[in-house]
């Protein structure tokens, strides 16, 4: 069984993780941890292996080597279903929404694991299954208010502009009430104002709900502002790990990452 992790203790520990696709070594012996309650940034140039790292954490990719310890449970790899049931939610670099569904339905899908009425009840739909749906609607409305997307509640998400799609994706992840939230470039392609909004949401989620966040982001100023600790990857290797101040003073990072134009 997973154990209770207090704020400041290690929530997730990756040890010596290596992942390759055929000949491509995407991650090479990388290890780092994420502590409960922190905002942990993962940065690095294009192709550094950041997204692959998130995919390892939520079980989309199974590393050939290394271990993942989440909430005290030691594993060779995660499975997406287990990750979700254990409180890991995520967003995707290239928005992955259910395009045919409304904003509301997309966010409601985040409640999947919180709903318990079984198959038969749902067939009948009315009665308890219906009541359960209503309770979850309420929680979802909170998320909608928080992210200020009430006006697009009924809009099919495929029709929304990119910035709003990203926000709906965040809403879906928040609806899961996760313990660990993985964000893959949540501000990519956004204008300044949208970025500021998104930064504010991330900080509030972290502050008010104590949600632990792993954040991949290319915008260095955003990363420096938001994160408690930063791990830097380059060509699949970890080249630095520390506070924003430590990392920005690191010569390897300056050479490999900050020197590279984006």
């Amino acid at each position: 069984m997973s154990q209770e992790i207090k704020p400041g203790e290690v929530l997730l520990e990756l040890e010596d993780v290596s992942l390759s696709f055929g000949g491509v070594r995407a991650i090479k012996n990388v290890g780092f941890n994420i502590k409960r309650g922190e905002i942990r940034a993962i940065i690095g140039p294009n192709g550094a292996g950041k997204t692959s790292m998130l995919n390892v954490i939520n079980g989309f990719y199974h590393p050939q080597e290394g271990t993942i310890t989440y909430k005290g449970v030691h594993r060779k790899n995660m499975r997406p279903y287990v990750a979700a049931t254990q409180g890991i939610a995520r967003t995707f670099q290239n928005v992955a929404l259910f395009k045919g569904m409304s904003t509301l339905d997309n966010i409601m899908s985040g409640r999947t694991l919180k709903m318990h009425r079984n198959f038969l009840w749902q067939m009948l739909y009315y009665g308890p299954a219906r009541r359960e749906e209503m309770q979850h609607r309420e929680r979802v409305e909170h998320v909608i208010d928080f992210l200020e997307i009430a006006h697009i509640r009924r809009t099919p998400v495929g029709r929304l502009p990119y910035g709003l799609q990203k926000r709906v994706e965040l809403a879906r992840a928040l609806a899961m009430e996760p313990e660990l939230l993985l964000l893959d470039e949540p501000m990519a392609g956004m204008n300044l104002e949208e970025k500021e909004d998104m930064s504010r949401y991330i900080l509030e989620v972290n502050d008010e709900f104590g949600m632990t966040i792993a954040l991949i982001e290319h915008d260095i100023s955003v990363v420096m502002d938001l994160s408690d600790r930063i791990v830097v990857l380059d060509h699949g290797e970890k080249i630095a790990d520390g506070t924003p101040a430590e990392v920005s003073a690191d010569q390897d990072v300056i050479d490999a990452y900050l020197g590279v134009a984006h």
Partner: protein, 318 residues
């Protein structure tokens, strides 16, 4: 001139000259239409959830009907046999999910399609082994499907509705409506649409692909059983019955492979269209129109609207 008259004017003159007969034709088209819609739904559900064109849908119809008749012949009451057959279809769904889908997840769609062909031959073999190859009689009376017919006075003529056709249309319509409701209004339905839209995102919110697949295969199994009973009652239960499932293909091309309303509307268009065409234009072409009409309509659709009436995207997956 005369040909043009025969094609464009005469059929309508006939239709409006004898509206009671037109009603009869429309009714018969409607009955087939509901059954086509039902069969097409079986395909749509599985296609939506997994992107797989289930070649085995036809043999599932035969297998379900054979199981029902076979269980009944062991001496149990018809309704008990029916419930047990539903159980068998559930077992089949779970087995297919465990032994086929789960093993082949992440393989290209064509591999999964091939797997359903494999499944088809497996079920043919299993069916023949257990039940033998000779045709059997559907236990329609035993299941309480009514016989006889009802006459109605319309437009100064008589409209004859076979009670069994009425029952078939009602059962098919209720089943179609129930499936539509289930998959569009409930949480499982939302999960199914989520899986259809984006596998990875669905996984990330904790939707279990395995569970969804088992459910859609079970739904397809129920549809197959209903088709087997209703169609079997019209003719007989034999392996030839699997060709009725072929009729679903033009329906799907019309309605789109991913659309539940599409399956319903497509089924109606084909059902009504082929009956009308057979009766009023068939003579011009020497009859036998029903066997090819649906495919020609489908072909025309493929040329002009390959995504179907309601389909979301071009079918590139089969």
């Amino acid at each position: 001139m005369e040909t043009l008259y025969n094609i464009f004017i005469d059929p309508f003159v006939q239709m409006f000259g004898a509206p009671d007969f037109l009603m009869q034709v429309l009714w018969e088209g409607f009955v087939s239409g509901t059954l086509y819609a039902l069969i097409a739904l079986g395909f749509v559900l599985i296609f939506k959830a997994s992107g797989v064109f289930n070649f085995a849908q036809g043999i599932m119809v035969v297998f379900a009907a054979l199981t029902l008749v076979g269980l009944y012949s062991l001496g149990m009451p018809a309704y008990v046999a029916l419930v047990l057959t539903i159980g068998v279809m559930g077992l089949l769904a779970v087995s297919v999910e465990r032994l086929v889908m789960r093993k082949l997840v992440n393989q290209p769609d064509i591999i999964l399609f091939m797997a359903t062909i494999g499944l088809t031959y497996f079920l043919i073999g299993l069916g023949e082994f257990i039940f033998g190859g000779e045709p059997k009689k559907m236990i329609a009376d035993e299941l309480g499907l009514p016989g006889g017919s009802m006459d109605f006075e319309v437009f100064g003529g008589v409209l004859i509705l076979e009670n069994r056709d009425i029952a078939a249309a009602v059962i098919a319509a209720v089943l179609v409506a129930a499936l539509w409701f289930f998959f569009s209004k409930t949480r499982i339905g939302r999960a199914l649409r989520a899986v259809a839209d984006d596998h990875q995102a669905a996984l990330s919110v904790g939707i279990s692909l395995n569970q969804i697949w088992a459910i859609v295969w079970f739904a397809a199994g129920i549809v197959a059983l209903a088709t087997g009973i209703l169609w079997g009652a019209k003719s007989e239960v034999s392996f030839a019955l699997q060709v009725v499932a072929l009729k679903a293909l033009p329906v799907l091309i019309l309605g789109g492979f991913t659309s539940i309303p599409g399956a319903i509307v497509g089924g109606m268009i084909i059902g009504l269209g082929e009956k009308l065409f057979e009766i009023y234009w068939g003579g011009l072409m020497g009859g036998g129109v029903e066997s090819w009409f649906a495919y020609v309509i489908a072909l025309i659709f493929l040329l002009f609207r390959p995504q179907g009436l309601f389909g979301e995207k071009i079918i590139e997956r089969i």
